[in-house]
């Protein structure tokens, strides 16, 4: 049986894995955009809002993982 403090730290560390997953997601969004933009540079400029919407959606989940980690770490 482990005490609450160590369980909290381990739990927060596990929850922080989600941030890494979001990093992969954000990288995929920007990578795909760059791939498309290099193939058709003329159309790339008009699509930057779409890029940032995709970025925001992918990033939000990582931020939520971070928030969950902080809640676990500092919960009493």
């Amino acid at each position: 049986m482990m005490d609450l403090a160590s369980a909290q730290v381990i739990g927060a560390g596990l929850a922080a894995i989600g941030v890494g997953a979001a990093a992969a997601g954000v990288g995929f969004v920007f990578g795909s955009f760059l791939q498309g933009a290099l193939r058709n540079p003329g159309a790339a400029g008009g699509q930057t809002p779409t890029l940032y919407i995709g970025f925001a959606a992918a990033e939000l989940l990582g931020l939520m993982a971070f928030a969950v980690a902080m809640i676990i770490l500092y919960a009493r």
Binding site: Y52, L63, M64, A67
Partner: protein, 259 residues
């Protein structure tokens, strides 16, 4: 040798009362958050005032202000359409306030002892209320323009009836989550970034305190990393402000044009 200093990255987010206490026992206190909000406000006013002198040949300052207003005008016009102009004031306010408080909070004012910058947007209270304001604008405009027809926002057009039953609850949940996710984004980005800065700043000091070639090497390495993270913080501050403005414009577009 140095004492084992415990890193306390949460201390920088503490809201403390400043100055005297004329309203003791009431919730109305002048805090460091209020002080830095006023500083952000003063910086915005100074920036806008310096650039709106209507010179015929714009100088550098006026070009900067014109670039900012033109950029936000573009966001509203592209995403909402010709009617977007009406909503420019709120989009502009939100963008500029988040941008300035993010950047002022990341400035190294602490080289002057005692002058610790406080990032206003690192409190969910602030960003949460801004996102609730955006959400209320969407609700008010939507119900004002479309009356009860606004609920058709949850039902995509030309969908089979069975699918509609499935999609409507999902759309409803994703609509109701908006104020939460919109406010969470700038808050967590600033919060996480400042924790990272605090932790690595502590590593620099602890490495110097420990001394020896190893301590100095670690300290130098962490310092270089710290500079990089600080630059990243400035980038993230800009991106988060942009994303907030963009998503606000998109949500308002839902209410105005009702896809």
């Amino acid at each position: 040798m140095a004492a084992e200093a415990k890193i306390d990255p949460m201390h920088q987010f503490a809201i403390e009362q400043i100055g005297g206490n004329p309203l003791s026992g009431t919730p109305f206190q002048f805090t460091n958050s209020a002080l830095w909000m006023l500083i952000v406000f003063a910086a915005i006013v100074l920036f806008m005032w310096g650039g709106t002198k209507r010179q015929l040949v714009p100088g550098r300052w006026q070009t900067a202000v014109e670039g900012l207003t033109g950029f936000l005008d573009n966001i509203t016009r592209q995403n909402i359409g010709a009617e977007g102009r009406k909503y420019l004031p709120w989009v502009f306010t939100a963008f500029v306030f988040i941008l300035f408080s993010n950047w002022i909070g990341a400035m190294p004012f602490a080289v002057v002892p005692g002058a610790h910058p406080f990032t206003v947007t690192s409190q969910f209270t602030v960003t949460g209320f801004m996102s609730v304001t955006s959400f209320l604008i969407v609700l008010v405009v939507g119900f004002w323009k479309h009356k009860l027809h606004f609920f058709s926002l949850f039902v995509p057009k030309d969908t089979p009836f069975v699918l509609k039953l499935l999609i409507a609850p999902i759309e409803f949940v994703s609509f109701m989550v908006r104020p939460f996710s919109l406010g969470l984004r700038p808050f967590v980005a600033m919060f996480a970034g400042h924790i990272l800065l605090d932790v690595f700043g502590n590593f620099v000091v602890q490495g110097l305190n420990a001394g020896g070639p190893m301590g100095y090497a670690i300290s130098a390495l962490c310092f270089v990393f710290l500079v990089g993270v600080n630059a990243l913080e400035l980038l993230v501050g800009g991106i988060q402000a942009f994303v907030f403005a963009l998503l606000t414009a998109l949500y308002i577009n839902d209410a105005v044009n009702l896809h």
